[in-house]
């Protein structure tokens, strides 16, 4: 496979990633959200694999494996289990209505592209145009965290942000050094577990995972 | 040792003031009686009164403190000091630099503070009232007096009374509008400070109106005599200060002993006129209500300040 084809493939996957980010932003149902998140992880893994294969950066395969393991299998599974155990199957509520969120999201994408354009010029990797997309998906996940009212979607937003970051790492630099990749993965893993513990605690205390219950600590 | 004649003269002059002071009071009383169509008492009546008082046994409240006993003497001492400083007949007073006009005001203040303290010593209602009113008059009269004196001091460039008088008396004649303001202010202060109408009435013991008399209610006999005498000296001193500042002509220069008789005559004439004037004022004016006294005195203060400003305005 020539450089241009793999580059086109990566670009395609990048677009897919962005699309998924938008889909998550607009998604009302929590189970679909988890599924979308898993898809995003899969897209990330595939694109990393393509980069690894086409550039011969073998350590990226570790990254691929980690992504697959963590983000496509383990975390969605854990989240599913949690939702089963906590009976939180209801729809996702948002603070701002979804069309408005989408509009803001489009604005963000344009902003991220504008920001990334001069940097992309400098990159000599085959995936240089994807840096803007990575940044956009980070910002979109951020937006998602802001507008969601429940704890679980917020966490999914956070994890999606990590996906965006990983994508940035692979696309812009062919991946971070291995030790860092491993460390980050470990952090994500531990973090997910701690989130899980938290869901139980919160549920126990407030009988709900609605974070509106957690607005007591403030200045009056 | 060149000062010896001067020192001797200064002591003599102060003795003269001390001895002559009751006579001035007698003269003022006589004039007033005439003006009020009364038959006048003897001009020497104040002396008789003093002698009578000195002979009596003193009656003192049981709870009087040493301060009470001391005060009449302190008052007398202060007034004597004032009498020694003011150039009455001549300006050759070697000790006069010991206390300039500011210190002179200080002497009067010292006397006032002591008399007010003594008034409060026994702890009577009138005593406290007297002390309060005395200090009320004092705090307004004192700055007015200082400002008056400052006006003169600015003209002569000195705060020494002798120097001021020499400058005013022996310089070429000039009209100082600022001094006119000062003179009016000084007259008002004089009336207030010496417990005269319209501020106070030395001849009555009306409880609602008396000021100075209330402070000496508890004194009797020799103590009262000393206080009365000190008051007489104070009146004399004030009058001579006024004369020295505003009508200094005729006063003897330093070392010019020949001019003394003339100076003496001039002083006598001025005092006779001033005493009569005082009596006239006391007859013509009515006593003010107590709370108009601050107004009266602040007018004096403002006039004095105005005088001082006039001095600077006309100078530029």
């Amino acid at each position: 496979m020539s450089q241009s084809i793999s580059s086109q493939l990566v670009n395609l996957l990048a677009a897919f990633l962005l699309l998924l980010a938008f889909a998550m932003l607009s998604q009302r149902r929590i189970l679909t959200l988890i599924r979308l998140f898993a898809w995003q992880g899969a897209a990330l893994a595939v694109s990393t694999a393509i980069v690894a294969w086409s550039t011969g950066q073998t350590h990226l395969y570790f990254s691929v494996a980690l992504t697959l393991l963590l983000k496509v299998i383990l975390i969605p599974w854990v989240l599913h289990r949690l939702i089963d155990r906590l009976f939180v199957r209801w729809d996702v509520e948002t603070l701002i209505n979804i069309p408005a969120t989408m509009l803001i999201g489009i604005g963000l994408v344009i902003f991220a592209f504008a920001l990334a354009a001069p940097i992309s010029q400098m990159a000599n990797t085959l995936t240089r145009s994807t840096l803007g997309i990575a940044m956009a998906s980070v910002l979109l996940s951020f937006l998602m965290m802001i507008v969601r009212r429940k704890a679980v979607p917020q966490v999914i937003g956070f994890l999606a942000m990590e996906n965006g970051l990983f994508f940035a790492a692979t696309s812009a630099t062919y991946g971070m050094p291995l030790v860092v990749e491993l460390g980050v993965a470990l952090d994500v893993l531990v973090g997910t577990f701690i989130f899980g513990i938290f869901f139980f605690h919160i549920r126990e205390q407030f009988d709900s995972l609605d974070i509106r219950h957690m607005e007591k600590l403030k200045e009056d | 040792m060149t000062h010896i004649p001067g020192i001797a003269f200064q002591i003599l002059q102060s003795m003269f003031v001390v001895l002559a002071a009751p006579l001035l009071v007698g003269w003022v009383n006589q004039c007033r009686a005439w003006l009020q169509n009364r038959s006048a008492p003897s001009i020497l009546l104040p002396y008789y009164t003093l002698a009578k008082l000195f002979h009596k046994d003193a009656v003192i409240a049981r709870n009087a403190s040493p301060l009470f006993h001391l005060t009449p003497y302190v008052l007398f001492g202060c007034m004597w000091l004032a009498a020694g400083i003011v150039p009455v007949l001549a300006t050759d007073l070697p000790f006069a630099p010991a206390a300039d006009i500011i210190a002179l005001v200080g002497v009067f203040a010292l006397a006032r503070v002591f008399s007010a303290l003594a008034a409060m010593d026994i702890g009577t209602s009138f005593g406290g009232m007297g002390a309060r009113r005395e200090m009320l008059i004092g705090f307004l009269a004192e700055p007015a007096m200082l400002m008056t004196l400052f006006t003169a001091a600015f003209i002569s460039g000195s705060t020494q009374l002798t120097t001021i008088v020499e400058t005013l008396a022996h310089r070429e004649f000039a009209i100082y509008p600022s001094l006119a303001f000062a003179a009016v202010a000084f007259l008002m202060v004089l009336l207030a400070e010496n417990a005269r109408i319209p501020i106070d009435n030395p001849t009555t013991h009306l409880e609602l109106t008396m000021i100075h008399e209330a402070t000496i209610l508890e004194y009797s006999a020799r103590h009262l005599a000393l206080i009365e005498w000190a008051m007489a000296i104070k009146l004399f001193a004030y009058m001579t200060i006024g004369i020295a500042l505003f009508l200094p002509w005729g006063i003897a220069e330093a070392g010019n002993w020949a001019a003394l008789p003339l100076a003496f005559a001039a002083l006598a004439v001025k005092l006779v006129l001033a005493g009569a004037g005082l009596a006239l004022i006391e007859t013509v004016l009515a006593k003010l209500r107590l709370f108009l006294a601050p107004e009266f005195l602040s007018t004096a203060f403002l006039l004095a300040v105005l005088g001082m400003l006039t001095h600077f305005l006309l100078l530029t």
């Binding site: 001069p118 400098m122 000599n124 840096l131 790492a169 460390g183 701690i194 600590l217 200045e219 | -």
Partner: protein, 482 residues
């Protein structure tokens, strides 16, 4: 070797305590492990003083004047806090607020947190620094919610979410940094090593670095507690156990600021102008002013001192932002004195609220009467933190202010107004707690107050006299980052 010891001891301690942390003697073991790390840190310090900067383990770790003093400080505060936590947690257990299982978690996490802090400081790899920083959040987040009260859960949740999101931005910044470094150093492990980055900092791509710095500043700045990213800080400080508040304020914020300053050095090198300084000064000033006005509204004692930490981090950020040998020196000194003073304050505050059974300041009264040591400790600590001489906080504030006055005179009125408002707020609340009729009771275990006075003693000394070796140390560090 020393580095391995410094990092190994708390890691081992954390694992060990995970097994035996529920035992009766666990608090002592915890303190002992901290003591051993302190000794190791001291060894390392001696070594660095003797031999100068060094790297270890294929350059993955390094020590230079900047981080070695923070390592020593971190180890010291970790040790004294462990000493304090010994009676504190026993009393908490006595009051039934924690059980043995949670104590095990607590002790284990305490050591792991220390490990993460030291790893942040010693790691030469900017990526590992990020990992350790996130690790610090992960180790403390369950401690913040240790009491499992609704408020503590809420605080921990906010802490977790805000810090994780923040730190994710920092990761993006790190990626961008790597992206730039790769151009110069080539792909592979060395491109994220600080020592290498430092050498090539003038060749890094300025556009990328400025973008990276924004992400790094927002990311690590969240952990520093810069306004308006600070919102997790008061909640987490107020609701967690007091030893954790002490180490959060005394260590975590410093380490996060350390990361920001490290980034600043690279960005300044690349940009050749004081772009990062301006941003840091702006954030610093905003933090100082906003935190000062927050102070006067506080009712909870730990929350108030948390805002005071925000204020002081603002001062430090401002100082580092100004740059130059004096300001950087002042910033380093302020890091030292602030972490010592603030942790000392939290020690006294912890015991004070145990004595009175509340964190509500209106209900804490007359400490000096019932236990003079706590009362005086709180009074002197507050006075020190408010920047009154002869305590060392004044020394650094003096240097910051005087430098600001001739470099950025516009900033000084803001700083001074904030200092005045902070003084009125904190002192007005501390005074009635210290003085007056008492509401305090006796404690079941004797409180640990030696750490308080050791800290305050050092701070007092730094106000009057800075030892020459410390000066040369700070100077070298300041030269490195100025």
């Amino acid at each position: 070797m020393e580095i391995a010891l410094v990092l190994g001891v708390p890691l081992f301690g954390g694992l060990l305590l995970a097994l035996v942390g529920h035992k009766r003697w666990a608090p002592e073991l915890n303190a002992l492990m901290s003591l051993v790390s302190l000794a190791a840190a001291a060894l390392l310090t001696v070594r660095v003083i003797a031999d100068g900067p060094m790297t270890a383990m294929e350059e993955q770790f390094f020590v230079d004047p900047f981080n070695v003093f923070l390592v020593a400080l971190t180890a010291l505060v970790a040790f004294t806090t462990a000493l304090f936590s010994r009676p504190y947690m026993r009393i908490e257990q006595h009051h039934g607020r924690v059980n043995t299982a949670r104590l095990r978690l607590y002790h284990s996490m305490y050591q792991l947190f220390t490990f993460m802090m030291l790893l942040c400081l010693l790691s030469n790899n900017v990526g590992v620094l990020w990992v350790a920083m996130e690790g610090a959040t992960l180790t403390t987040v369950l401690l913040v919610s240790l009491y499992r009260t609704p408020a503590s859960l809420e605080a921990a949740w906010k802490y977790f979410i805000l810090c994780s999101v923040g730190i994710a931005q920092a990761l993006f910044g790190t990626i961008l940094l790597y992206f730039a470094a790769e151009k110069v150093l080539g792909p592979g492990g060395t491109s994220l090593l600080w020592t290498h980055l430092y050498e090539v900092r003038y060749q890094l791509e300025p556009t990328v670095l400025s973008l990276a710095f924004v992400f790094l500043l927002v990311g690590f700045g969240t952990k520093v507690g810069l306004v308006p990213l600070h919102n997790w800080l008061p909640d987490a400080h107020a609701e967690g156990p007091t030893p954790i508040s002490a180490v959060l304020s005394g260590l975590l914020l410093n380490v996060a600021l350390y990361a920001v300053v490290r980034s600043k050095v690279l960005v300044d090198g690349a940009l050749g102008r004081n772009f990062s300084g301006g941003l840091m000064m702006g954030f610093g000033l905003l933090s100082v002013v906003v935190a000062a006005f927050f102070l006067s509204r506080q009712k909870d004692i730990k929350r108030m001192f948390a805002y005071s930490s925000v204020e002081h981090m603002g001062i430090m950020t401002f100082a580092f932002g100004m740059g130059g040998p004096v300001a950087a020196f002042a910033g380093l000194l302020h890091m030292t004195v602030h972490s010592l003073t603030k942790s000392a304050i939290f020690f006294t505050v912890g015991h004070a609220s145990q004595k009175t059974g509340t964190q509500n300041m209106a209900d804490i009264r007359g400490l000096i009467e019932q236990s003079p040591a706590i009362g005086w400790g709180l009074a002197l600590g507050s006075i020190a933190i408010l920047g009154m001489p002869p305590f060392g906080v004044f020394t650094s504030e003096f240097m910051v202010l005087t430098t600001a006055m001739h470099e950025h005179p516009w900033a000084t009125p803001f700083l001074l107004i904030a200092l005045g408002v902070a003084f009125a707020a904190i002192f007005g609340k501390v005074q009635p707690m210290v003085f007056g009729e008492t509401t305090a009771h006796r404690l079941p275990h004797p409180p640990a107050l030696i750490p308080v006075f050791v800290h305050l003693g050092i701070v007092l000394m730094l106000g009057l006299y800075i030892p020459p070796y410390l000066v040369s140390w700070y100077r070298q560090a300041a030269a490195l980052i100025g």
